[in-house]
């Protein structure tokens, strides 16, 4: 790993100012960034640890009933807090990696990284979450911009993520056993005015909404509505872990499992 300067500002303003310097990069839980640095795939001149910024941590609800999760809240803390409240979100957070990864890794780091196999993008997209940064609010539908790419500008920080609470939700994850990421993950969220289905792990473009399943489930919410359905294999990822056709099949299976888990 190349060396860098380590800074730990105590406020959001100081963090944003530090990130404005050439070559500075934010450090959240480090569960993605530290392995990346070890592989010398990144070479920041300074790492700005967000660990000291209290206002980035914690969970509350706003006047619209949305659950607002601070960017630096760990997967483990979210799993504990959401248990019995938003089943899909609690389950998703509690299945990320392993206990030690969940004690460090954060929702903000996961969304900013937008790994095509990451779990949080599926929950954010399916719930219609809003991502608040230090300068603006971005709808989840406009946030994810293809593999490892987001709408965030240079130096822009995720502050919190606001989740509308679905009536029912579940996450179906088919784990890639070596990485523990999703080979395919499907988040199903049922709201009063419709159903949303977001798929991660499967596409070369990263997380995507599966519109046909949304329409079918909107008409009749049950696994029967999805009988025999899977998305086309075109544009899906193919690697040693699974062909595009296999992933397409898994999307159908994991969606049905998620719907069944909603009941």
């Amino acid at each position: 790993m190349y060396d860098f300067e380590f800074l730990k500002p105590a406020s959001l303003d100081d963090a944003v100012a530090a990130l404005a310097e050439e070559g500075a990069q934010a450090l959240a839980g480090g569960q993605t960034l530290i392995p990346t640095l070890k592989a010398r795939l990144a070479m920041p001149s300074a790492l700005i640890s967000l660990d000291g910024v209290e206002e980035l941590r914690g969970i509350c609800s706003d006047d619209q009933g949305r659950i607002c999760i601070g960017a630096m809240t760990t997967h483990g803390a979210i799993a504990r807090a959401m248990s019995g409240k938003v089943a899909g979100v609690a389950h998703l957070a509690g299945e990320i990696g392993d206990p030690a990864v969940r004690n460090r890794g954060t929702i903000g780091g996961s969304l900013a990284n937008n790994d095509p196999a990451a779990c949080w993008p599926a929950a954010a997209l399916a719930c219609g979450a809003t991502i608040r940064t230090n300068v603006r609010e971005i709808e989840a539908g406009d946030f994810f911009d293809g593999m490892f790419t987001t709408a965030l500008d240079e130096g822009e920080l995720i502050v919190e993520v606001k989740f509308p609470v679905p009536e029912l939700s579940a996450y179906g994850k088919f784990e890639q056993p070596a990485s523990r990421f999703a080979l395919v993950g499907v988040f199903v969220a049922k709201f009063g005015d419709g159903v949303r289905v977001a798929v991660t792990g499967a596409s070369e473009e990263g997380v995507f909404p599966w519109r046909e399943a949304e329409a079918a489930l909107g008409a009749e919410f049950g696994i029967e509505a999805l009988e025999g359905m899977s998305p086309g294999a075109e544009g899906l990822l193919g690697d040693i872990h699974g062909t595009p056709e296999y992933r397409a099949h898994l999307v159908g299976v994991m969606t049905r499992r998620a719907v069944a888990a909603c009941a």
Binding site: E5, K8, G30, I34, S49, G97, A100, V101, N103, R104
Partner: protein
């Protein structure tokens, strides 16, 4: 070089580190606490698990400076001051929860937190809790039995198929 100080196994310790110094390197090379192992260095295997402010973390995936002013417990802090084994360590010995022992420090540190958060876990919960700890020797069977026994539960007799 920046200064780092933390309480390690109840003692105030400090030293000079680089920005990039990992906690595990500070513990092993800076403080000579070589009980914490590095198995993979890619955040997968859990041999390096220590407790930082009461939580199990992979010490190869946190910088020493991130643990500045934290309370850190390593495997060296688990046995009694006279070297007598803790109940969890005894359980590993009694139930053959180790062979080469390389994974054992991380296993013990993970297992202690597992039982702290869930005093009477099921076998499935133990296996789930060990997801981030790899053992290349035991096949896990005896590690799972070790932890179930340490929780005071009856352990299933090993069946031979």
């Amino acid at each position: 070089m920046p200064d780092v100080s933390m309480v390690v196994n109840g003692e105030a310790r400090s030293g000079d580190v680089e920005g990039r110094t990992l906690l595990v390197d500070f513990l092993r090379e800076g403080l000579g606490l070589t009980g914490t192992h590095v198995g993979c260095d890619t955040s997968q295997c859990g041999a390096c698990v220590v407790h930082v402010d009461g939580q199990a973390v992979k010490s190869c995936t946190i910088f020493a400076l991130e643990a500045d002013r934290a309370e850190v417990t390593t495997i060296e802090g688990i046995a009694g001051p006279d070297g007598s084994l803790s109940p969890m360590q005894k359980s590993f010995r009694d139930h053959h929860g180790l062979q080469c022992g390389f994974c054992t420090p991380g296993m013990v540190m993970t297992a202690l937190k597992l039982l702290e958060n869930n005093a009477k876990p099921s076998e499935a919960e133990v296996r789930e809790g060990l997801k981030g700890n790899f053992c290349r020797c035991t096949g896990y069977q005896n590690i799972v039995r070790t932890i179930l026994a340490a929780s005071g539960q009856d352990i299933p007799v090993t069946s031979v198929e």
